[in-house]
Symmetry: C2
Subunit: 683 residues, 2 copies
Amino acid sequence: MQQFLIDHALLLAIGFALVGVIAAVALAYQVRGMDAGDGKMRSIASAIEEGAAAYLSRQMRAVAAIALLLFLLIGIFKSWWAGGGFLLGAGCSFLAGFIGMRVAVLANVRTAQAATIGSQRAMHVAFRGGAVTGLLVVGLALFSVGTFYFLSFTHQGLRETVSSLVGLALGASLISVFARLGGGIYTKAADVGADLTGKIEQRLEEDDPRNPATIADNVGDNVGDCAGMAADVFETYVVSLIGAVLVAAISLGGDPAATMYPFLVGCITVVGALCGIGYVSYSKAPADRALLQGVIANGVVAAILFLPLCLWLFPDRWAQEYSCSVIGLLMTAAMVMITDHYTKITGKPVQRIARASQTGHATNIIAGLALGMEATALPVLFIALAVLVTFWLDQLYGVAIAVRCMLSMAGVVISLDSFGPITDNAGGIAVMSGLPKQTRQVTDELDAVGNTMKAVTKGYAIGSAGLAALVLFGSYVEELRHYSSQATAEGLQFRLQDPKVIVGLFLGALLPYVFAARSMAAVGNAAGAVVEEVRKQIVEIPGLLQGTAKPLYGRCVDIVTKAALHEMVLPALLPLILVVAIAVIPGLGPVVLGGALIGTIVTGLFVAISMTSGGGAWDNAKKYIEEGHYGGKGSETHAAAVTGDTVGDPYKDTAGPAINPMIKVVNVLAILVIGIFARYWNL
Amino acid sequence: MQQFLIDHALLLAIGFALVGVIAAVALAYQVRGMDAGDGKMRSIASAIEEGAAAYLSRQMRAVAAIALLLFLLIGIFKSWWAGGGFLLGAGCSFLAGFIGMRVAVLANVRTAQAATIGSQRAMHVAFRGGAVTGLLVVGLALFSVGTFYFLSFTHQGLRETVSSLVGLALGASLISVFARLGGGIYTKAADVGADLTGKIEQRLEEDDPRNPATIADNVGDNVGDCAGMAADVFETYVVSLIGAVLVAAISLGGDPAATMYPFLVGCITVVGALCGIGYVSYSKAPADRALLQGVIANGVVAAILFLPLCLWLFPDRWAQEYSCSVIGLLMTAAMVMITDHYTKITGKPVQRIARASQTGHATNIIAGLALGMEATALPVLFIALAVLVTFWLDQLYGVAIAVRCMLSMAGVVISLDSFGPITDNAGGIAVMSGLPKQTRQVTDELDAVGNTMKAVTKGYAIGSAGLAALVLFGSYVEELRHYSSQATAEGLQFRLQDPKVIVGLFLGALLPYVFAARSMAAVGNAAGAVVEEVRKQIVEIPGLLQGTAKPLYGRCVDIVTKAALHEMVLPALLPLILVVAIAVIPGLGPVVLGGALIGTIVTGLFVAISMTSGGGAWDNAKKYIEEGHYGGKGSETHAAAVTGDTVGDPYKDTAGPAINPMIKVVNVLAILVIGIFARYWNL
């Protein structure tokens, strides 16, 4: 059985991957066949769709130039296989986001229509829309890596295949940074801009059709939360798979069982995702419980199926590998529960922020900032514990397996995450097309559930990203050793006593700070452009605020699109600049680079967790007050809470989540440049 | 000459230290002899004085219990010399803060009185008050370390002396954490509480005598900014001196020239401080220029005097040591200039925040947070560069000398820093005792200068603290090696590939986050108590707002005192808990601890710099708007800027600066526990 599995692992992976993709396509057609409501709803939905498609195609063109340049550089300096992998990774990452977004804009209007019938029905439509992305990501990721490995392995050896896979990982990571950052800037610039002019200046409700930035705001949900998140998790999935293969190939000398286990875990991922999604689709429980039960169902199925796989594949050490696999699942549970604790509307932390809002804007902000910082403690302690235990169980491979199995929940997790923007959009369409009030109530309830899900999945994404990056660092060290002669290996020890390591730690640690600062400033700049445009339209278009004249939605969409694309380039290129600068500057080099990789992981984790948790808590503190506590909507307390929510927007949806792929770009790129700079470094 | 200097270095140091202390006392008497104004002014000043003294004596009692316990533990488990050193360090640290604060409350009323005559006169009085603290700190620190070293060295060997000196450093650091944290919570709880009720709820001016929290607010300036900063820099000075001696004794095998150079630098520090202070005292330039020229004067004198000292003491390698010394001075200049750039009212960064305030509270906050994060880049790059160059010049000793010489500017820097709260208080006294408006104008101008000085000195304090902590980490590694057998030394390599190092980095990195979160929450809690008390007094005391009845200032002072002391304990003990927990928990131990030391330094630097820079920029953005830009005082833009300023308060005056001593407590404590846990760790 062991030999059979090893021999057929890749074919199995490709087969299961196709099952996932086909299920996604079937589900997409099912969603498409549902009732899309009346003409007004359809026209609003198509305006959102057009805006989103226009943005993504422009984003693609903007990124394509950079990607092509990198393809050539990688091809020339490394190998054309690696260059091809880069293009494949980049293409699939983009595709996952693009299709997910297309389906989301199909699902939003159908969810709004379903909401006129009932809450449960609306929930099922929205979830199916999200599930398309979930299945697509796990299917496409497994398919691309499996096929590439298969082709490369039959044409060149293991060593070269592994080296080319790094190109694939870089492609996925890079597109993911752009998608996360561009989408994040887009969605929050539109959101903040619409809120500042609509809610605060003109006292309009959310999604009021008189606000010229409304369509842009709804487009943002799709390009940021749908396409961005899909690319992000696609990338983490790919990196967790490639990272585990790297460790098996480099550190374990290509042990076949160890090399193939990560692919076989991918098969279980597809099965688990189908089970979890199926469970939710037929559940009669309230939305929030149904969704979490879907996650549990996925986890249980995975935990059961891992056991025979480990027994067959690792007869001598199945206990270690199985333990590491289960630790991965438990880490998912831990991350989900911890983030839930800090961001759920019924929890003490959120209510502490709500209480602090009574004494004004400033105390709301202080409470939220303190909460975000505090919320880093438990996730980091769990990550530290997981590293210690899995490393003790099976060295770096143990860590790699834990991350790999953490990602085996990716299918359901992305489904949950995409659920959020779909319901959010459905609410927008309901308001704009004048559906009855109770429809809006249904979508509002689902939207609140979606908010929690979004926060929770971010905790999962950053936790797994941190662990995956540690695995990559291990591969960097091993790869460096592979290239270095015996004489120089002594100098590549990465000791904390070495000032180069310290300097590297500082430089790497700087990256998340500068990156976050730049992306927050980008949101501010782009939002400012929206505010100006809205103010201009209010002046220039008579009858706009009275509802007798239609605003020019397209102009806002256009402005945000341009601003987001313009603002994303510099921060997205920061990790590339850092790695190349350290590699090139005399006196720095590989040891400093190693320190920088860890430095980025350390502060990256803290900055990202504090931002996503703090932002989620601010959001729900506002919702808590809107439920009627401390004076409710319209009170001074509520105004203070809106400030916190607005600050939290770029925190939790732009800067925070974009750090995940950035951490990995740095690490993947470092592995890639070793071969290129080996001579220059005198290895 | 070399032999003469080595033989007499300690006596010279003690002698110069006494000169510094005597000059401080003389200056204090001079300040005391100045005109203290009329009866009303005196009565307000004495109310502030009473409150400050009451707080410090309660703080001393609260800390004394913890200090006594640690004294016993150190005495029993380490040595009574180390225990004695601990008490000496703690006592002197407290004394420096205490006397500095006493003189500040003498100087504030005299500055207010002098302000009735003219701006220049007021500046000179305030600066002399600050200079007392400056001279006292550099004198007392040199005196305590010099005398202790002298006594210990004549009774026991170098090895034991060095080991006992660590106790002295711990005493200084621990008191400093308490002083910074307790004082920081006090000052900002009173400030925020007074602002929220006075400025925002009742629309009273700053320092309006009808506000029951006014006196507490003014007390806070003294216990936080005067006593806290004095203890902080005292501690950094002591640690920089002891750190350099440790490196000379442990790494360089007790090379006498290298061991004595740090003490001789102390002599130059006193001379430099006297020159700098003398220059400012007789300068006719405007306040801000005079103060900065004083710093330059100190730097030039030091740079000149270091040269012959290095030539005499290190005939073979004077160039290296002199270069490291000058790099220390240049680092001071760099830190001052960078912080100045990010926080000065005429700079682009501050004006960017002011502009962002036009679109509301939220955009003001986003701009400030982004700015704080961005402001970490240059200081960290300079620190990295300094580490690389000084290490290249003379290994760890080079780094130690750079920090030591950075601290040779401490005298003037503290004088500048204490200048701030004295002028701030002078303004308060002027308003409360009804002095004419132009007097307030004079104190307001000086207060604005004081704000910039305070921000600038914080950049200096955190930069030097980070470098000093790196030196301590080096000593930790060396000390560990000293205790370990050949067989175990191999396991103590602190490689980044070692999961224990990674886990240590994570645990250490967590500390500044949790510490900052807790101390910000503490300010929130204590400020809430003030708000409640003020609201109660407004209801209970008829005629309070009309000015016909006097508020009960004492009750607010009392509440803040209790709250600050209560809230400071847990965060201040966090570093102790972490070090002991890592030392004791099986599976962790010395390697994890080493990682944690570096982890704390890395995130500590980033968190502290982003907080102090962001806070300073918010403060001055508000001032910029108050100067009449973007609608000026009373506009919506101003309200948004006030929010940013209030958020910045705990950022820049509580959490941020308290991280400096915390970083060093962790590192010093780690060195101290090696001897205690050596057997338990099986070294």
